[in-house]
Subunit: 374 residues, 2 copies
């Protein structure tokens, strides 16, 4: 165990441990749901109270919080808030229905959002008493948060065995490269790709993490900030750099998260992941994908041709935000009239993946179906 | 031929054609050497007069101009300026020697710098009359500029045959991906990787160029600006994106420049090149390297283990500059205390290179020695 301090103010920030702070939690002193408003990270640590379903909708839509597991838990608390509010309405059923419609459409492509809402709806299906529905939902939201933290911790425990084996073999700090932020900030706690790093830190197995800056949204700065909070040695690099580091023997393993894995083991993840997988393969470096098992989409046989890739605003490429003397500011990177394209994800073919680190254990792409009994 | 306008003011800017504007030239109206001061690009087009050897040294050191061939020509004009100045000195020989020392050390690793200075020194070796030395040097500097433009144009002519063949086969605009700026701005005119694009535009062979932004120094904005000036359709992408585009059949060929090629065909180029070469190889997309033949370093048998890679300031990764309301500004991208590493180049192994486009023609990596009679 190691205490981790907040960067701002005197707030004790211990995202790793989970006892002091998660990305979302119910504050029992103030009787309110709280979240880390990630829009200000890594420059400022802001905690928001979410008191209405509408506020939760805004928090999801405007990306106060992000990451599939976290969005799921946020949605569950959103349902709870909607139930609380509709009790004061002249037409509770109608008011609740309207809130649910709004909540369901906060992020169009987030599978976890609908999954979480449906899970809550099933739990309160057939329960007519509004107070009871509210109590069940509150309890379930908390359980879902704990569940996510548990799943992520299990991913970490399994992933740690890989790091431990490398450490035993090499006898020096293990060099891990990661892309994007599949970190505690994208989940309730621990993260997926970062979880083995946190557990390694806990067990005093020395590691150093190469953090891809991850253009265009620069989620690498969330990862570097997270790891810094947890006192894990890390160095930021441009997305261009990983190949060179691998050529030079400066990377022992790659761990990334994923947004969707198909039945054959193809991996959709943040754009640029495929390039790192190619470089890892070319240099005989193990390439691992960390994920909660529900991320596997058994309905798709393969991913390269079948997973739709989100195209986002060119503005994310043409301008970038950062800090100027304590003020968040955006600068234009290109001259006027320049066009840009911005694809959010790419597909890493299964042949480039060494293994999947799940809460149930580690398996190879070609073992995926057997491992999960499909 | 197509006229190209300057982005700012009413200056007629025709970097492609070379008649109106190169990156460096002697202005016969004003009797002065002029350069495009690239520090302000792509946001502002600034032309500077260089009137002393000291000014030329500053222009090279502070990267008013960049790119090996351009630095060479700038150095030649620098020698000329030093000769002019030393005529007014009480000890011309000593004054000239001091200037040459300064000029030779403006950029420590630029091979072209010393090559150009030595070439001039050989040409005036044995000529004792200072006026004659000055005249010879001035003429030679101009010839070297013309020579560089000619070499680049030849690279373009040879490279065009590849684009033409693809166009004949596919009958639609050819999709070219490039990394960094191996453009007219890095040479006297035409560029290396961009030269086939300029010639294609001249011959009305339709192309579209994917321009890697090329973190951390974002030279992609120079490339996109250059191509925009020349009315060549282009789209900027993050360095992470090329692999996905190739997976989706949206890239027909890759052309990059190089800083050094070893005898076996290994290619040192801007960091990230190797990742694009891997992706091109994985998707059966031809990967070409455009270069003037002196870029081949016959003294090194291979590059992956033997070419030293420049490590640059982490600040280039941690902060980025751009335009805020017409003012060039720098924003910090990461929170305080975050470390970064910044390697300038990587090595693309010969096995990933389809061909070298040189001023003497195109050859495969394994034909390199035979092609150049080594």
């Amino acid at each position: 165990m190691f205490p981790v301090k907040a960067t701002t103010g005197n707030l004790l920030f211990m995202i790793y441990n989970g006892k002091k702070l998660r990305t979302i939690w119910f504050d029992t002193d103030e009787n309110v749901v709280k979240i880390i408003d990630q829009r200000y990270l890594p420059f400022e640590m802001v905690i928001e109270s979410i008191t209405t379903c509408d506020e939760m909708c805004r928090a999801i839509t405007d990306m106060y919080l992000r990451g599939a597991p976290l969005i799921g838990v946020a949605a569950a608390y959103g349902v709870w808030l909607a139930l609380l509010e509709c009790a004061n309405s002249s037409n509770p059923q109608e008011a609740f229905r309207t809130s649910m419609e709004r909540l369901s459409t906060t992020r169009p492509t987030a599978v976890n959002l609908l999954w979480a809402i449906n899970r809550v709806m099933r739990a309160i299906d057939g329960v007519s008493d509004l107070k009871e529905r509210t109590t069940i939902t509150f309890k379930l939201a908390g359980e879902m948060a704990d569940e996510d933290a548990d799943i992520c911790r299990s991913i970490g425990e399994h992933g740690l065995t890989i790091i431990e084996n490398l450490y035993r073999k090499l006898g020096r700090p293990i060099q891990v490269l990661t892309h994007c932020n599949a970190g505690a900030l994208a989940t309730v706690d621990y993260g997926t790709a970062t979880s083995p790093m946190y557990i390694a830190r806990e067990r005093n197995i020395p590691i150093h993490v190469w953090v891809d800056e991850t253009r265009p949204r620069n989620q690498g700065r969330l990862t570097s900030w997270e790891l810094q909070q947890a006192d894990i040695d890390n160095t930021v690099i441009c997305d261009n750099t990983g190949g060179y580091l691998m050529q030079q023997g400066k990377v022992d393993m790659v761990i990334v998260g994923t947004d969707r894995v198909t039945a054959n083991g193809d991996v959709a993840n943040k754009i640029g992941t495929y390039l790192k997988a190619l470089a890892a393969h070319d240099n005989d470096i193990p390439f691992y994908v960390a994920l909660p098992s529900p991320t596997i989409d058994w309905s798709l046989e393969e991913g390269v041709s079948s997973i739709p890739i989100e195209e986002r605003s060119p503005e994310e490429v043409l301008a970038i935000d950062g800090d100027i003397d304590g003020k968040r500011s955006s600068v234009r990177l290109f001259s006027s009239g320049i066009k840009a394209k911005n694809y959010g994800f790419d597909i890493t073919p299964a042949r480039l993946v060494t293994g999947f680190i799940t809460e149930k254990g580690i398996c190879k792409p070609n073992e995926l179906k057997t491992f999960f009994g499909r």
